[in-house]
């Protein structure tokens, strides 16, 4: 992958993330806070972004979203295929709901 390709891919992921996040927040802010794992303040900031701001933010050379679950247990559960998949996803959801959210610094 060349530098330009990497940059393009990153921009696309950023754009998709921001647009989805904005849609979720606009549809139902409280559920979006859960789905995205961000604070209400951060959700409000995302909601207020203009299309121009979304584009400018997306064309950074860094990914805007990062892995939400650093917990080893949680990644194990989400990725596991050994047990019945439904049960391990249910287990992961219980653990995920207890995780803190991203805050504005």
């Amino acid at each position: 992958m060349t530098g330009a390709e990497i940059h393009n891919e990153i921009r696309e992921v950023n754009l998709a993330y921001l647009m989805l996040a904005q849609q979720l927040v606009r549809a139902d802010r409280d559920s979006a806070v859960f789905r995205l794992g961000i604070s209400t303040q951060l959700a409000e900031v995302i909601e207020r972004l203009t299309p121009g701001q979304v584009l400018r933010m997306a064309s950074s050379s860094m990914l805007l979203c990062r892995l939400r679950f650093e917990d080893r247990m949680l990644t194990d559960l989400l990725a596991s295929h050994e047990r019945e998949a439904g049960m391990s996803r249910l287990h992961a959801a219980i653990l995920a709901a207890g995780e803190p959210v991203e805050h504005l610094a």
Binding site: D30, F34, G86, L90, A93, I94, G98
Partner: protein
């Protein structure tokens, strides 16, 4: 008159019909919505097309301790607590949103919603009355529903330590049997 303004009565009716559609029983509406019993009864019949079930609500905390209900109750309660901790949703709105998230989760995983809306509401009331509490699992660190005053410092959840034959209910087994028979009959 329990409700003074027409606007708030309208909001109550809207909320009540939403709750009825989600499966709330009449007792939940009577406790949470400031409308007269007659109005709620009429509303229930209009929305559901049938009379509300009679009899008392289930009142035992033991139901929440059996394996599958405990997992579902823990998931719902975790979602509810997340909403209280991180968003402005309170009361009935938090109940409705948490229940929707719970339903979504269960349906994505192709399992049955074991917890009904009325049970979820009862669960919250049990927590508020301190009849139930959280227990932290030693294995995964997740929070699960447990009896108040249970000794929970050595608690292991039903998902870290799945009991033998868990989830193999009488209901689940014949379904597979009948499908197999049906397939055999076709072949």
């Amino acid at each position: 008159m329990r409700t003074r303004s027409i606007v708030s009565e309208g909001k109550g009716i809207e909320l009540a019909s939403e709750l009825v559609r989600m499966g709330a029983r009449l007792q939940l509406l009577e406790a949470e919505i400031g409308l007269s019993r007659e109005k709620l009864l009429k509303l229930y019949k209009e929305v559901k097309g049938e009379s509300p079930p009679k009899g008392m609500l289930p009142f035992s905390t033991d139901w929440f301790m059996t394996w599958q209900p405990n997992i579902h109750a823990s998931l719902f309660m975790s979602l509810y607590r997340f909403l209280l901790d991180h968003t402005g949703a309170r009361g009935l709105h938090a109940l409705i949103k948490a229940y929707r998230l719970y339903l979504e989760h269960v349906q994505l995983n192709d399992s049955e919603p074991v917890l009904t809306l009325t049970r979820a509401w009862t669960l919250i009331r049990f927590f508020e009355a301190r009849m139930l509490q959280w227990a932290r699992c030693n294995g995964c660190g997740g929070n699960f529903v447990a009896h108040a005053y249970d000794l929970t410092h050595n608690y292991t959840c039903g998902l870290c330590h799945v009991p033998a034959r868990a989830g193999k209910t009488r209901r689940a087994v014949p379904v597979i049997g009948t499908v197999d028979h049906a397939v055999a009959a076709i072949v």
